[in-house]
């Protein structure tokens, strides 16, 4: 246990050292210059990127969470595999193909990009929420019922709090995935930081590449920590451990 901890700390320190080294290297070589020289464009791209991610994620939450709740009710539980399979199928289609398909329906630009990202986020949110609700010990629901709680009270006071950590876990996965995938929106004119990344790749220009890629990475890490914090705040500490094991299995 202790040995593991020490190794984990060493790995973490090495990783941080590597990241800092990379930043210093990039800074010395002037690879961040586009961010400062074209800061107007940079902030527009960041805004577009965030819009893509936030709008698509909210849409995904709005669809996936109610579906997860529906398919974990006793009456509909037997249909859960259908929903899971459909969502799984959507996930196996390559992201570029989803983008291409989205063009067919919605044309080029911002909308099809949001649509494609939305399709991509539904599965992790749905699957984690289903796992979260299913991981709740049926005895808890039985106890709640037996004490005279109404269905709504059992849902909001027992099921949701105990599934919350797993649900937030799904959001984290979806949003982080989304931030990376949103870079591809450039291909269908969706904007975002992908514009600089792809330009950098096409022109062999490390400055554009890094000025696009690093903010995307930081954004992903930032959202990950933010949502993890939200998870810690809204789920009582005693439910975290069980939720963690539920999501990893």
């Amino acid at each position: 246990m202790n040995r593991k901890k020490i190794i984990a700390i060493i790995v973490r320190i090495l990783l941080y050292a590597f990241v800092i080294g990379f930043f210093v290297y990039a800074g010395v070589n002037g690879y961040f210059s586009p961010i400062f020289e074209q800061s107007d464009t940079f902030w527009v791209l960041v805004g577009q990127h965030l819009n893509l991610v936030i709008i698509s994620s909210f849409l995904a939450i709005a669809i996936a969470l109610p579906l997860a709740v529906l398919f974990t009710r006793p009456r509909f539980r037997k249909f859960e595999w259908i929903a899971s399979n459909v969502a799984n199928l959507a996930q196996t289609v390559p992201s570029l193909a989803v983008l291409a398909l989205a063009i067919g329906i919605l044309g080029v630009g911002f909308k099809p990009a949001v649509f494609a990202l939305f399709i991509y986020s539904v599965l992790p949110i749905f699957r984690n929420a289903v796992a979260g609700f299913n991981s709740i010990n049926p005895d808890l629901i039985d106890a709640g019922k037996g004490m005279g709680m109404k269905a709504g009270q059992i849902f909001w006071r027992v099921e949701v709090p105990n599934a919350a950590y797993a649900i937030i876990g799904g959001l984290r996965t979806a949003v982080v995935l989304n931030i990376g995938t949103a870079a591809l929106a450039y291909y269908i004119g969706g904007g975002g930081l992908g514009v600089w990344i792809m330009t950098g790749i096409e022109l062999f220009d490390n400055a554009y590449l890094i000025s696009g890629a690093i903010p995307v990475t930081l954004m992903a890490i930032g959202f990950d920590y933010l949502l993890r914090g939200v998870g810690y705040v809204i789920s009582p500490k005693s439910t975290r451990q069980t939720a963690d094991t539920a999501t990893t299995t």
Partner: protein, 335 residues
């Protein structure tokens, strides 16, 4: 207080999980539903708070058919304890204990006072445990919290589904004793499911012994041990039913019926025992050869006499052979 009238339950239509069950439960009694798994005891229990529907017949609480009551309100008036304690991991101990009062809309102060009262009942410090979560407590503590949670709104009736089944034997016995102590104070009408014959003998005022959804025998533990009604009952309670029965009797009762023997002053190696000790433990002490003589004291430490295996044997003969025979004679005379 609670009457079961021709209660039946069938799932598929043909097979009956509970079949034409009839009996009455008096106020303040502990009635234990005893039987092997699949005998319908849990189903029968869960019909009382309508977690299971009743296919035929009716259950009445205080002459009121439960089928006519609002099920949410009914359940809030019936305490419910399950084997896995069912404490909500997202709520701290105080929130868990006061959940039914909260559903009933009690104010904060009343809830908190009730919480403190209940914690004192099981000897846990209310302030120390208030903000703790269920997973920070031991299994025994969790189960005690589960019991007082069911008592929180002071329901007249309690349903307990193998409440102590998941605990290890030592703790189980301690909690059983503690629970009997609490019951002496609160005097609830308790329906209790168990598959453990020893638990039933120890805790029950009456036992409902079940098989395949039907009642095999309904009576006091002593009644069932002395007069098993049929082959199944005597098999279920075991060949040691006479020994089990001794756990229900004390030295005082033996003394009253047949008296003790005089103390043999020549024996030096002797052991002292209280007159309220049960006969099973006394017999065990004699069989263990712990001393050459066991001397009985009363509560004022006055010597009453000595007890021997022979005395216990004679008492058993009286209880199991002579008394039932006398009872049969009496019945004949009346006829």
């Amino acid at each position: 207080m609670i009457s079961f009238k021709h209660v039946s339950k069938s799932y598929t239509g043909t097979e009956k999980a509970v079949n034409d069950v009839n009996f009455e439960v008096e106020q303040g009694e502990i009635v234990i539903f005893l039987g092997p798994s699949g005998c319908g005891k849990t189903t029968l229990l869960r019909m009382v708070n309508r977690l299971e529907t009743i296919t035929e017949g009716s259950i009445l609480i205080n002459d009121q058919d439960i089928g006519e009551l609002n099920e949410i309100e009914l359940r809030r008036k019936i305490g419910y304890v399950i084997q896995s304690n069912g404490l909500f991991p997202n709520m701290n101990i105080e929130e868990n204990v006061t959940i039914v009062p909260d559903l009933l809309g009690w104010d904060k102060k009343k809830k908190h006072n009730r919480y403190k009262e209940l914690m004192q009942l099981i000897g846990l410090d209310p302030m120390e445990y208030r903000k703790r979560f269920p997973n920070e407590l031991s299994g025994g503590q969790q189960q005690r919290i589960g019991v007082i949670r069911a008592l929180a709104a002071d329901p007249p009736v309690m349903l307990m589904d193998e409440p102590f089944g998941a605990l290890d034997p030592l703790i189980r016995e301690k909690i059983q004793d503690e629970f009997l102590q609490i019951q002496r104070e609160v005097k609830k009408t308790i329906l209790f499911v168990s598959h453990d014959i020893d638990e039933a003998i120890k805790m029950a005022d009456k036992i409902v012994l079940m098989r395949d959804g039907e009642i095999m025998q309904y009576g006091t533990p002593s009644d069932i041990l002395i007069h098993p009604k049929n082959e199944y009952v005597s098999q279920f309670i075991g060949r040691d039913r006479a020994i089990k029965h001794l756990s229900l009797r004390t030295i005082a009762q033996l003394q009253e019926e047949i008296g003790l023997v005089d103390i043999d002053q020549s024996i030096v190696d002797s052991k002292q025992v209280n007159v309220h000790e049960n006969l099973k433990d006394t017999l065990a002490m004699l069989l263990n050869q712990e001393a050459d003589q066991v001397i009985v004291h009363d509560d004022n430490d006055e010597v009453q006499g000595a007890i021997t295996i022979d005395r216990v044997q004679r008492y058993l003969h009286l209880e199991m052979r002579q008394k039932p025979a006398q009872a049969r004679e009496k019945e004949k005379v009346i006829e």
